[in-house]
Symmetry: C2
Subunit: 224 residues, 2 copies
């Protein structure tokens, strides 16, 4: 869902400034909850810096990761659009600078800027495509395959090129990675172990270094 818009995010700098007049700034600490599933959705969050995790919990306590929103993205727009309660929980993954806009003010803003409405339509369309793709991903391949696929995806979106230049470092905990691929932490750890045994990556604390992206890409698309 996040990061699928063209560079620059959902709004241009100019539009951000226009929206800014309708809202107020707010900071969220790491791991601070921005809103929780079931609450009334009376406001919309524009992410300025930091990433935001959108997830839900199953009855048995497992976490399912629905999206990671990045700077330039909008969070909590669904409730503003349809007036229904939050269907997921949003938590700051890093210190987050945000713009908080009340739902009515957001709707007013949209109506006053028709071009924004069109872009919002596109954003929602991208979210639907992404959600549908998730459904397929979770049914395609075993855990190792899905972990490899997610790592390649993460590398393209937020990997940091360090070292020799072909290495890509991803900063992520195995718990989050597990929620992402829809598996337990143990299974994810074992999958990483297999990929490590192939020599395609190395693992560390909150850190995964991909050393053979092409091989991982191949493994990710294997029909097996």
């Amino acid at each position: 869902m996040a990061g699928r818009e063209p560079p620059g995010g959902f709004l241009t700098g100019e539009e951000w400034r226009a929206l800014e007049a309708a809202g107020r700034r707010r900071r969220y600490r790491v791991r601070q909850r921005i809103f929780r599933e079931g609450e009334d959705g009376d406001h919309v969050i524009g992410v300025l810096t930091g990433r935001v995790k959108i997830s839900v919990q199953t009855g048995s306590g497992r976490e399912i990761l629905l999206a990671v929103k990045e700077p330039g993205d909008i969070v909590g727009e669904l409730s503003a659009i349809d007036g229904r309660p939050r269907s997921a929980t949003a938590v700051a993954l890093e210190p987050v600078d945000a713009l908080v806009v009340s739902a009515p003010a957001f709707v007013e803003f949209i109506e006053a800027h028709p071009r924004i409405a069109v872009r919002l339509l596109r954003t929602l369309a991208a979210q639907i495509r992404d959600a549908d793709r998730r459904s397929v991903d979770r049914d395609t391949g075993d855990i190792t395959c899905r972990v490899a696929r997610r790592l390649v995806d993460l590398a393209e979106r937020l990997g940091e090129h360090r070292g020799s230049g072909v290495e890509v470092t991803i900063v992520v905990g195995q718990d989050d990675l597990a929620a992402w691929v829809g598996a337990t932490r143990e299974a994810t750890s074992r999958a990483l172990g297999r990929l490590r045994a192939e020599g395609w990556l190395t693992t560390g604390r909150q850190r995964i270094v991909l050393t053979d992206l092409p091989a991982l890409r191949r493994r990710a698309t294997e029909t097996a």
Copy 2:
């Protein structure tokens, strides 16, 4: 995704007539493909009668059901919004009367009717919530639980009350039901067998009759 709008569907009768001027009528036979994943999405379909199945295939040939669109719903709107190729395949489940509108004409129609644009936003929001809920559903409970849950859901949306009045008949093949809950046909058949053994339903060819909806609802929400 389908059937989540207020009664009457996405558009009012009057609006349908307005849109009709921009498109042309077309009939699709049972099992006829309306469009296929990967194609260019140059047109939008308004469903007048009959149901349409939206699905994708995994690499291993398994089918994943993403949505069933009903009369009043719109099909293929994503490509019209973002210009990208079809991300899924649409097939008529029954004889379908449809209104085919070119993508540019559809966009024009939206721009000319701001209230429609708002309703389209709400429709897309509902689709996102639905897709997210699917992700959770597929991770909650065993196959039997998920089959029960889907049956209850289907009963509420398109069940026909026949017989004594407490019985609900659902017309669906086990293959489709399996794709819906994300399992094989065999596993689905066995799950139906267990529910049948409890006396909560009877099964037949393309036909499932729910005889104890409350019990099924209970089984569907068990955390086990």
